[in-house]
């Protein structure tokens, strides 16, 4: 049975239902910080969602890359936010540059290493008891 069959179109528009985002391009923020983009094809009351033509937007500093993934089913508990992308607006600020997947992975690795290094430096200096 269609769960929407007893809801009138007005009810859906005024509710938190994801129906208003169906067949639109959305961005899904996940609990691990990943950002997935795609067309919303299905959902349920737990915010489980199906994304068609999904891709992961990897952002490192001013670089970004959309890594294609295909058809994705996302379990609701991992969802933080679902945003409708305004097609009339730029998705990213103009100073950001699109790079290849290989380049973004390299940038990601460098970024991770520098933050790891910061972590160990901090650990070594812990006896100073800053903050």
């Amino acid at each position: 049975m269609n769960p929407m069959s007893w809801a009138t179109p007005d009810d859906v528009l005024l509710s938190t239902s994801l129906a208003t985002y169906l067949d639109k391009k959305i961005i899904v923020l996940l609990r691990d910080g990943r950002k997935l983009l795609g067309l919303l094809r299905s959902f349920d009351q737990f915010a489980n969602v199906v994304l068609e033509g999904a891709c992961e937007r990897v952002i490192v500093g001013d670089l970004y890359c959309d890594v294609p993934l295909g058809l994705y089913v996302i379990r609701g508990e991992n969802v933080v936010l679902i945003g409708e992308l305004d097609l009339g607006k730029e998705e990213l600020p103009p100073h950001m540059a699109c790079v290849s997947e290989a380049e973004i992975r390299k940038a990601q690795k460098a970024d991770r290493e520098s933050s790891d290094l910061k972590g160990t430096m901090r650990k070594r200096m812990e006896f100073l008891d800053f903050d």
Partner: protein, 93 residues
């Protein structure tokens, strides 16, 4: 049910929702449901430079389970009504 009813009364007001991942979003409260999932309209992220991927998001759905705070307009809170409703709820309706 109390906070569900309470948030329903705030529909149309401007609120700031802070999430457990520290992302704070300001927008007009469009709707809320029993899980305290929230839909916002005309959203803007408080620290936009840190979250460039949110630039073109104007409407969004926030899962209730990831919300840390909702900052309300001061005039949206009537402590007396809330207080009475709480006592009514505590007595079992």
């Amino acid at each position: 049910m109390l906070f569900f009813s309470y948030f329903k009364d705030l529909v149309g007001r401007e609120v700031t929702v802070e999430l457990k991942n520290d992302l704070a979003i300001r927008g007009t409260l469009h709707s809320v449901d029993q899980y305290l999932n929230i839909k916002l309209e005309n959203t803007r992220v408080v620290d936009q430079d840190k979250y460039p991927h949110m630039l073109s998001v104007r409407n969004c759905f926030i899962r209730g389970s990831v919300v840390r705070y909702v900052q309300l307009p001061p005039e949206g809170v009537d402590i007396e009504i809330l207080h009475d409703a709480t006592r009514r709820e505590a007595r079992g309706g």
